[in-house]
């Protein structure tokens, strides 16, 4: 089995972002491999270690700087990396075509994609690539098993979890709970520099959406002050926390 595991290069969780001229300013922010994609890399590497997978290919689509995320995937155990290089902002549907091409070129049986991407929080890429490949999609997987040529999974659905199975090939979107991703160790970070790394120029794909403006969500607080009889205020507070804020 050959696995392609998609990795996205996103500002790390501690990065402070701002907007400038209607665009997100990311200069100075440190970038990292998207946390949701790490579960896919981990799963692929575990299957390689267990002899289920023959090769793990990490694929990214984005600017030259996305090399960092791919190097992390190599340090975590992927065998080789492919960077489809572009500086354009492509929406997930536009990204699906070149990504599907890369999956076919690698001769992959499984594609792992993070359940959603941390930059725009869209959960569209996995379904879009599955559509482009014509493969079945298992989204939000929390358990995975290969039985012969069948992929068996347990995945989250709106009202609980569901058992899922389909013949390979398939696209799987990954999330917390699937496994516990390992750390890149220093020896593996150093070895990653010696693994094959392929740069592919993006061609023939145009963005079908464009960003008109970007703004940070405002964080105005409602600042409700409850006054009056302490017992009544306490009861009101509990009601608000339970029924409105859903915090209880």
């Amino acid at each position: 089995m050959i696995i392609v595991t998609y990795v996205k290069h996103v500002p790390d969780a501690e990065a402070r972002l701002s907007t400038e001229g209607g665009r997100i300013a990311v200069d100075g922010a440190s970038f990292a491999l998207d946390g949701m994609d790490e579960y896919g890399v981990e799963q692929a590497v575990r299957w390689k270690e267990a002899g289920i997978a023959r090769e793990v290919v990490a694929v990214a689509l984005g600017p030259a700087a996305a090399e960092t995320a791919l190097r992390t995937a190599l340090a975590l155990g992927a065998d080789r990396a492919v960077l489809i290089e572009t500086d354009d902002d492509l929406d997930p549907v536009a990204q699906a075509t070149p990504l599907a091409d890369a999956v076919r070129r690698a001769g992959a049986d499984v594609l792992f994609v993070g359940g959603k991407q941390a930059d725009w929080d869209s959960a569209a890429l996995g379904p879009a690539v599955a559509e482009a490949l014509g493969w079945p999609l298992c989204d939000w997987a929390i358990e995975l098993r290969v039985e012969g040529t069948t992929l068996e999974a347990v995945h989250d659905v709106d009202d609980g979890v569901e058992a899922w199975s389909a013949p390979l090939p398939a696209v799987v979107t990954t999330q917390q709970g699937l496994n516990e991703p390992r750390y890149p160790t220093l020896p593996n970070i150093m070895k990653a520099k010696r693994k094959p790394f392929e740069h592919v120029a993006l061609a023939g794909v145009a963005a079908r959406t464009s960003t008109l403006a970007a703004a940070l969500p405002s964080r105005a607080r409602r600042g409700v002050r409850l006054e009056g009889d302490p017992a009544a205020v306490a009861a009101d507070l509990v009601r608000r926390l339970r029924d409105e804020a859903k915090a209880l």
Binding site: S30, T68, A75, Y183, T185, L186, P187, I189, M190
Partner: protein, 392 residues
């Protein structure tokens, strides 16, 4: 001249920072209260590569230089000083000495186990009466058929009783005239009959870096476990000390940085007289001075490490780095306690632990006073070289 760390080193630093924050920092307070040698986290440090940083890849280490070693050890120390002390000893003393002075057979025998962290290494130089004056050591190594018998006691052994391998300095020539030239280095494994350890010392700080005395009661050491020639031991030990001092400097910087971070966080949040206390110059100037001293010490430390990557010795540079970093670190911790006020004095906050952990950095691996002696001696040597002999 370039003050930036290489991209590769920055990447390793980030990886170790994330590792140390997630794995080491969360256990530091509990290990301080209930001291135990931190085997579970040391195992993970071994997998990470942190217990064989300087040892070449051929022997299972990372094969990095002293600059990388200093940068990575600072990250460990910023999470917990005890872990940094254990790592500093096993990396910088037994491994560095076996690598430099061991035979190929000795390197293959011990380095892979030490570099992977399967074994922890310790260093036995100090004795109860011989600290700064290490050459006054009295432990004897008497030649016998096939090897030596070691008899004596060692004090303040980091990882004593826990480590698997002890690099022991003992006297093969007891005559007074032999002095430091009568000392020889040996590798003693933990299960050697006659080797025993005292109860862990009760210390001000660094509680998880277990320290104990060792007793060598007629311990037989085969000849193939002698490191270097007879009488060379003291030179070998002094040779390793430059690297050891860079390690302690880096450790001190890490503790000092943790203290500064805690003080900055508190000074931004804590309000008094209607404003965050960082807006008062009394607090702001103190923190500015702390940052200045830590940064200056970091530059000295990186320079000493850089020099050691280019030459076998960098004695003055290493002594300056160790002196500056350890004293800046204690000062940073003291400032952090003052900025946090009563919270700084409370064991529920980490800064009093930082101070207790940092305090020994001005004592071990050569006290501040010894560092000044070393610096002054080097100054006179260099001065002598540049000044022509007086004409008589």
């Amino acid at each position: 001249m370039d003050f930036a760390l290489s991209d590769e080193l920055l990447e390793l630093q980030q990886a170790v920072r994330a590792f140390a924050r997630r794995e080491i920092a969360p256990v530091a307070a509990a290990l301080d209260r209930d001291p135990r040698f931190p085997w579970p986290t040391l195992r993970r440090m071994g997998e990470m590569g942190l217990l064989g940083v300087l040892t070449p890849e051929a022997y299972g280490g990372l094969g990095l230089g002293h600059l990388a070693y200093a940068v990575l050890l600072e990250e460990v120390a910023a999470a917990d000083a005890s872990h940094a002390t254990i790592a500093s000893v096993t990396n910088g003393l037994p491994q560095a000495m076996i690598l430099r002075h061991g035979t190929e057979v000795q390197r293959r025998r011990w380095l892979p186990r030490l570099a992977s962290g399967e074994w922890i290494g310790a260093f036995c130089l100090t004795e109860a009466h011989a600290g700064s004056d290490a050459a006054a050591l009295r432990t004897r190594a008497v030649p016998v058929d096939g090897g030596y018998r070691l008899r004596g006691s060692k004090a303040w052994i980091t990882s004593g009783g826990e480590a698997h391998l002890y690099l022991v300095l003992a006297r093969t020539d007891p005559t007074t005239e032999a002095g430091a030239r009568g000392i020889t280095a040996f590798v003693v494994e933990r299960d050697a009959p006659g080797l025993s350890f005292g109860a862990p010392e009760r210390k001000l700080g660094q509680h998880a870096a277990i320290t104990a005395g060792a007793v060598l009661d007629d311990v037989f050491v085969p000849s193939d476990q002698r490191l270097g020639a007879e009488g060379q031991g003291f030179v070998l030990a002094m040779d390793a000390l430059d690297g050891g001092r860079v390690g302690i400097a880096a450790q001190a910087l890490g503790i000092g940085r943790a203290a500064l971070d805690a003080a900055l966080a508190h000074a931004g949040e804590r309000r008094a007289f209607g404003r965050p206390i960082r807006e008062f110059q009394g607090v702001a100037f103190r923190l500015a001075d702390v940052a200045l001293r830590l940064d200056a010490a970091r530059l000295l430390t990186h320079r000493a490490a850089w020099a050691l990557d280019r030459a076998a010795r960098a004695t003055k540079e290493a002594a300056m780095a160790k002196l500056a970093a350890s004293e800046a670190s204690v000062d940073a911790c003291d400032a952090a306690i003052q900025v946090l006020g009563a919270y700084g004095y409370s064991a529920d906050y980490p800064v009093e632990r930082y101070w207790r952990d940092a305090r020994v950095t001005t004592i071990y691996e050569g006290t501040s006073e010894i560092q000044r002696v070393v610096i002054a001696r080097q100054l006179h040597r260099e001065h002598g070289r540049s000044v022509p002999e007086p004409v008589t």
